[in-house]
Symmetry: C2
């Protein structure tokens, strides 16, 4: 039987492995976590709106009944192309006939001094839990010692004005509202300060200008300060310095400044890489120079499509791209296995969306039509719940959300860090 | 205003602080966690039946709207009786006029070699999460390398035949059932072995003999091996040795062997202690030798009641005792503050219950009436959900439970340990 290994159980790997259920291949999906993370909602975990479990789904629950798909809980350290083996940490290597690399990306700090050391990225569930614990501890510290407010104890700096940055900033404002209104903290809401920094002159660059204007207006209306067209020069444990010399005292810097594939497993494959270390792939998503391996999702420089007008155009690092490219690579592996020609990948743009908080979001449809405000938010809500279908989690997410929306008083603002014990 | 400090936000401290809402005292409840833990369901978290968040409730959400109750997130290190201050770790001390000590207990290892080092207690949420991660990792390890089964990779030893031990053993059997049936693990259910050890000749000592017989029969029917009347002699990272020389190769020892107050904060108060280090208290729950401090719950040797027939009788360490004694101490502090005489505590036995798993539990009412089987389980389920009322969590717990009960396929079997990253 043809052995097909899928590296990574994010959107790309999961989509590939699901496509292969029932196909004539012995599939192994390997991940260093035993769960899939619903990354678009990590910011809700980080701001205590959802539980960790609401966005984590055990991989075995997805493939438990699939005869030809096996989960392997292990850390991939590299690929031995000569022996056709995936190397694992502290375990025997996994042999393969075909390989699909869906190993994702990691936060990109652009070499800014102190950024990787003192800021909080938001790409994994552990990132989200650490950030949540950190934020809640800051609130407790300032409550016990109000003098810390002047030292940035209640100042939250978000770096990056893309969807993640906008979402985190909006959700932080809501967390502070709730903390003051329902949690008996003794500081005033005005003591809390949220600053969103982006090097470009506007927010939400993938969106139309009017979406950016709407987002900026909404965020400002919720008390969030914007520093657009400004770059972060350095980060320390108590301050962020911007390129114009402004010093912002803060104890919490959220890093939503983009991702890279550099220094991940994908960067150690020895095959060509492009911008941000993304693996270069051919039109059918085979890794450049190979005919037995594919790369998909954030790890790959996925081409938009074969049309001449899209020549050289690379897809953004979005869940939709990962899902579609994962499925495509799986189908091409089957095509090749059965001696059929492979087909080029073609991205189907289903639109993009970002939420700014309660009852405020922007959804941009492929034609360019924008829906914003409550309607945009409902569209965002519906789509995210829809994607969780098939996962038990959607019920819990629904209950959590509904309850929170109605009561505003009891999100999971629990500090669970192990260092408490 | 009279300053009243409550140490600990378990059942006892929470009950005391809730009783004091709106009373003429400035109340501070201090805990090293920012959440209350619903301990009776920790075993469900440990066996991946519930999420951490289902049994954790933010303390601030309970007292956020109470004007006279403040939460303080800090670790208590002792009490300075001379200055009337509670000492805190890395923070200024908390002055008090009255004090209620509800600092709980900790696992008791009876000095058995290796027990504290190699076994998993189940008293805090962190304990439960660590145990869950450990169990799920063992299943993954054996799946990757079946030879580990012979070395105890799938053997789970539970020490202690009280309600917690019985509950854990039953839930472990269910976890193994689900893992094999739905999660695609390659080992057989028969490879998994659960052994319950207790030094006494029977299970569930606080219950009538017939409850113990029922529990033993039910556990055996679910494949669990019982070693009753046997003591654990030593624990290592790969084996448990019993007093009759039997060696059980295992990688997982769950410690449900009882609790002690020794080495907790309560043990450092310099006031008299009794069996298991529990603080000696007078009939009205004041700490022996003090008139400004009370002790309640697991931390105290709570007297059963003032009737001569109950002379010297001490309450068991149960949630009900903590709840009732916490409330009583709060009322007596108010009585004394307002120059009224204090009243003796009187425990109202509301019955005890233990679940052995799906559709099997025993409930023993105060008169001695036993309800068992499905009816006992429904009583257990109803009571636990009832106790979560007022907490958002009950809805999530209900959804989780219902879903698990119906689907059997998607509990939160997620390994979230930080060492994954």
């Amino acid at each position: 039987m043809h052995r097909l290994v899928v590296v990574g159980a994010g959107f790309g790997g999961l989509s590939a492995a699901r496509t292969l259920i029932g196909k004539p291949a012995e599939v192994t999906i390997v991940d260093q976590r035993n769960f899939h993370t619903f990354q678009p909602l990590l910011y809700e975990v980080a701001t205590a709106g959802l539980e960790s479990g609401d966005v984590a789904y055990p991989i075995r629950s997805i493939f438990g009944r699939a005869d030809n798909v096996t989960f392997r809980f292990a850390t991939v350290t590299g690929v031995d192309w000569g022996r056709h083996q995936v190397s694992l940490l502290e375990a025997d290597p996994l042999p393969f006939d075909s390989l699909i690399v869906a190993s994702g990306a990691t936060a990109k700090f652009f070499g800014i001094p102190g950024a990787s050391e003192f800021s909080f990225p938001l790409y994994t569930l552990t990132d989200a839990r650490r950030l949540r614990d950190h934020i809640l501890r800051r609130l407790e510290q300032v409550d016990a010692d109000p003098a810390l407010t002047a030292e940035g104890g209640l100042t939250f700096v978000v770096v990056g004005g893309g969807p993640t940055g906008v979402e985190v900033a909006g959700a932080l404002a809501e967390l502070l509202d709730v903390a003051v209104r329902h949690d008996g903290f003794r500081f005033n809401r005005e003591d809390g300060k949220i600053v969103l920094v982006d090097g470009l002159g506007r927010l939400l660059t993938p969106f139309k200008e009017s979406a950016a204007t709407y987002a900026a207006k909404t965020l400002r209306g919720r008390g969030i300060e914007l520093r657009l067209g400004r770059m972060v020069k350095s980060v320390t444990d108590s301050c962020v310095e911007l390129d114009d010399g402004e010093q912002i005292p803060t104890r919490t810097v959220v890093w939503a400044g983009g991702v890279t594939v550099d220094s991940t497993i994908a960067s150690r494959l020895g095959t060509p890489t492009g911008q941000n270390g993304r693996l270069v792939v051919d039109a059918d998503l085979t890794i450049s120079g190979r005919d037995d391996a594919y790369a998909v999702g954030d790890a790959a420089a996925v081409p938009w499509g074969p049309d001449p007008a899209d020549s050289g155009r690379i897809c953004p690092q979005l869940a939709q791209v990962a899902i579609q490219s994962g499925k495509h690579a799986a189908l091409q592996a089957i095509n090749r296995m059965e001696d059929r020609p492979t087909e080029p990948f073609r991205y189907t743009d289903k639109g993009i969306m970002a939420t700014i908080g309660r009852r405020a979001a922007v959804t941009q449809f492929p034609g360019g039509t924008l829906v914003r405000g409550t309607l945009g938010w409902l569209a965002w809500l519906g789509l995210h719940l829809l994607y969780l279908i098939g996962f038990r989690n959607r019920i819990v997410v629904l209950v959590n959300w509904s309850w929170r929306y109605l009561s505003w008083g009891s999100g999971p603002r629990v500090i669970v860090g192990d260092n408490l014990e």
